[in-house]
């Protein structure tokens, strides 16, 4: 809120410092438009963690759309600008669908190459676009706008019109970032695997981020056309993507004001350095390298980090015993008619020549607590990965509540009510403890809603509170998850899984690395949890396994060696020979 008021004040008073001279006002207007572009860019980079080098296509298509509509069809300003933004949106969807088959820097490279197709299209379609000469003669001053205003020749009026549009766009972007979709984007950025395990279709979330980024980049492109009254071909060349990347990182990602500061810096360098120095790009490039190396948070990011003092965490000793998980899991839902909740038939997974899981037949009844044990390399974690859709099986079927779920992706499996924890702690380290649980709970309510505040979802908040309370993590709610102790992170690991309100919970070595005391508490907690949800747990601590399980399945070399009650397993000769080695 403080940031917004500051932004409004700066926007309103900036012309004062510019002495109202047309040159400075023009420059200021340009800084604002590029700032909006950088902010839109940062929606993708800073908030969804996707590095794009194809934004020249979004801004360029929009600039040409608006330009062509104005020049050839004498459309009024507002619809022409809106059409430009929509052009950016559609371009980003097209590009996003293609590139999101890949990730990381590979994706970045693809965006760059694909965006150049648009450049060449403009270059070839000379009759409409003007080719290398750009698109000029835009009759902007003569066009009336339906809302009654005219874009006056006076730079000061033009400045305030643009500033108003940009302030509104900023509000809109801020709103979207605080919405359920915005939070899902952050989760995907922080830990894509876990976000998928919470039920989020991470590719679609990123596509949504592309769309938002594309729409506002398009708005910036359309405004650029109106402000310059000209569309230079450079607007759609890939170096435009490089420019917006530099601006965003100068100012700092994941901040609302950073992109504007970055745009200001870049344009200042361009205009003032180039006045005195012929080779100004040396300095822009050099400054960029230095900022990446030494100020990875950018200027605004570094300032806010230095200025913001986090309140000290109240030191709360974790509860000696985790409380009764009553009400933590919803009412039991029907399993298949024969009482089987989950079943695998002949499940197989091979990696090259290695068979990790070899024809496993496995049934879990509703309400059961099953342990899966076996020596290292027996295929336990691979088995979990097959059940949760992380890996596609090489053969066999998986049935959940009587429905075939074989080959479903992780997010779809999660939405059906299967949740898991991981052997190696897999949490959202950069998010707060509360948000870790909240984002998992939100998955049961909404994924893509881009309006309304995520923090205002009452049911989600209530569930997150309950989970934190039951895991004894309520005092640390504002701490970042990565700052927790190992034991606390293991509890959070389970909490994230529970927050999705599962019918079926897979725990992969929940006590891994815990102290004996923590192990005891966790075992007791899992046992009490079993009254409310069906659980399969992989565990190495035999005391825990024998103490809490209803039944035990022993895996060896990817096959089921034995299955039975703890007493039966203890007496089983095969198990003693292979597993207990006595």
């Amino acid at each position: 809120m403080k940031g917004l008021i500051l932004a409004a004040l700066v926007l309103a008073t900036a012309p004062l410092y510019a002495d109202y001279t047309p040159f400075y006002l023009g420059l200021l207007t340009e800084v604002l438009v590029f700032g909006l572009f950088a902010l839109a860019y940062d929606v993708l980079l800073g908030h969804a963690g996707v590095l794009s080098l194809g934004h020249s296509a979004f801004v360029g298509v929009a600039a040409y759309t608006t330009g062509i509509l104005l020049a050839r069809y004498q459309l009024a300003l507002e619809p022409a600008i809106l059409a430009g933004a929509v052009g950016g949106l559609l371009t980003s969807l097209l590009l996003g669908v293609l590139v999101l088959r890949k990730r990381g820097v590979y994706l970045a490279m693809l965006t760059l190459a694909l965006s150049q197709v648009f450049y060449y299209a403009v270059l070839m379609w000379t009759t409409v676009t003007g080719g290398t000469d750009g698109l000029g003669n835009l009759p902007i001053l003569h066009l009336s706008a339906p809302l009654g205003w005219r874009l006056s020749k006076r730079p000061i009026t033009r400045y305030y019109v643009v500033a108003t549009v940009i302030f509104l766009a900023m509000l809109a972007i801020r709103h979207v970032l605080g919405s359920p979709l915005g939070r899902a984007m952050r989760a995907v950025k922080g830990n894509e695997t876990r976000a998928a395990a919470c039920g989020y279709d991470t590719r679609r979330i990123k596509l949504a981020a592309f769309a938002i980024s594309g729409f506002f980049s398009g708005l910036a492109g359309a405004l650029l056309t109106v402000v310059l009254e000209f569309v230079p071909i450079e607007n759609i060349h890939w170096q435009m993507s490089g420019t917006v990347l530099i601006m965003t990182l100068f100012g700092g990602t994941s901040t609302l004001l950073g992109p504007f500061v970055g745009a200001g810096m870049f344009i200042w360098m361009r205009d003032f350095l180039s006045k005195h120095l012929e080779y100004w790009e040396v300095f822009v490039g050099g400054a960029f390298v230095l900022i990446v190396l030494f100020l990875p948070d950018g200027i605004v990011g570094t300032l806010t980090r230095v200025l913001a003092r986090r309140p000290p965490e109240p030191a709360g000793a974790p509860a000696d015993q985790l409380p009764e998980p009553a009400g933590l899991v919803g009412a039991a839902r029907p399993a298949s008619p024969d009482g089987r909740l989950l079943e695998s038939r002949g499940l197989r997974k091979t990696f090259g020549g290695l068979t990790a899981v070899n024809g496993v037949d496995f049934q879990v009844r509703m309400g059961e607590l099953r342990s899966v044990i076996g020596p290292n390399g027996a295929g336990k974690t691979t088995f979990f990965n097959l059940l949760t859709g992380v890996l596609p099986p090489s053969g066999g079927r998986i049935l959940f509540k009587g429905h075939d779920i074989t080959g479903l992706p992780a997010h779809a499996v999660s939405r059906l009510g299967i949740a898991r924890s991981y052997q190696v702690t897999n949490i959202f380290g950069d998010l707060t403890v509360y948000e870790n649980v909240r984002i998992a709970a939100q998955s049961r309510v909404t994924h893509y809603r881009f309006w309304g505040r995520a923090d205002a979802l009452a049911l989600v908040n209530q569930r997150a509170e309950e989970i934190l309370h039951h895991l004894g993590l309520a005092v640390q709610r504002h701490a970042l998850a990565r700052e927790l102790s190992h034991g606390e992170q293991r509890y959070l690991e389970i909490g994230i899984a529970l927050a999705t309100d599962p019918d079926f919970l897979l725990l992969d070595e929940p006590t891994a690395g815990m102290s004996p005391d923590e192990t005891r508490r966790t075992a007791a907690f899992v046992r009490r949890l079993a009254g409310h949800v069906t659980i399969v747990v992989v565990e190495h601590d035999m005391e825990v396994v024998m103490g809490i399980s209803d039944r035990i399945t022993v895996l060896n070399y990817g096959e089921v060696l034995a299955e039975g009650t703890p007493a039966e397993i203890r007496e089983n000769a095969d198990v003693r020979r292979v597993y207990l080695r006595d």
Binding site: R103, Y106, L112, A113, L245, E281, G285, G286, V292, P296
Partner: protein
């Protein structure tokens, strides 16, 4: 022919990406600097053949400096692969301007070496130039050598092992930092070599790096990132596509390669020779 040069430049890009996970935006710069180093050698000594040695050596040294001075600062930091893209992009902006400062804006003419001027023989209607045959020959000799280096030597083994599991290689006690430096320098030297042999066909100019970089991206995407065969096939395919459309319908030449890439992406996202799951992160 076009394809030969693309293969040489793209190979370096692909090896560095495979090993270090960094898309090296400075790669085009090495190609451009190689051409300038070659031009300078010819100016001073008059020998094109000497330039074939000095340019890769000088640019390889520069590669060592860049890797040691800049890239080593970001390994192991959060988002190291992103940062790698960013710093090398910064260098790609800076260095062409430095070259303009030193050598001036206009391109430098670079004559075909005397021994290789003129046409060798006629193939139907077309004169086959001796220099083009030379490029073909040099690539034909160099590629098997590189393949041997990557597949039959210790260094190659470490590079390939590092490409599939870097941490494990480090745990085996192998000096990965040194391998990375050597690999990066090797890629730079290869690009510089390609820069020198291209120079007689085009004017040596500060902008030549940017263009070849994007074409190399496309080659590696089409062929499959991190695979030797993929780069060779992708390079030939893209090089020929460029040459053919350039001959038949000039305007389309640039678009065709992008469309080829989009097609490959849709039908076979990992590239023609790419392995499943590799280098997709």
């Amino acid at each position: 022919m076009n394809g030969c040069i693309l293969i040489l430049v793209a190979l370096g890009l692909s090896i560095v990406f495979g090993l270090m996970g960094i898309i090296n935006f400075a790669h085009g710069i090495f190609y451009m600097l190689g051409a300038y180093a070659g031009w300078l050698t010819v100016q001073v000594t008059g020998s094109f053949w000497l330039a074939l040695l000095t340019a890769p050596a000088a640019v390889g040294l520069l590669g060592i400096l860049v890797e040691r001075g800049v890239l080593q600062r970001i390994y192991g930091t959060k988002n190291a692969t992103f940062a790698g893209v960013l710093v090398t992009y910064g260098l790609a902006i800076m260095i062409p301007d430095l070259v303009r400062m030193t050598f001036g804006r206009p391109g430098k003419p670079f004559a075909v070496p005397a021994a290789l001027t003129g046409s060798l023989f006629r193939l139907g209607e077309i004169d086959v130039h001796a220099y083009r045959v030379f490029i073909l020959g040099v690539t034909a000799v160099l590629l098997p050598l590189l393949w041997l280096l990557l597949n039959r030597t210790n260094l190659g083994l470490v590079i390939r092992a590092g490409t599939s599991d870097n941490l494990m290689v480090q745990l085996l006690g192998i000096n990965v930092a040194q391998t990375w430096t050597i690999t990066y320098a090797l890629g730079a030297a290869l690009a510089a070599f390609a820069g020198v042999i291209t120079a007689p066909l085009v004017a040596v100019a500060p902008e030549m790096g940017g263009l070849v970089l994007i074409e190399c991206f496309i080659v590696t995407v089409v062929g499959g990132m991190g695979t030797f065969l993929g780069v060779v096939a992708g390079g030939l395919l893209i090089g020929e596509a460029l040459a053919l459309t350039g001959m038949l319908y000039d305007v389309l030449a640039d678009v065709v390669i992008y469309l080829a890439m989009a097609l490959v992406l849709l039908v076979r996202p990992r590239g023609l020779f790419g392995q499943e799951g590799m280098s997709e992160e």
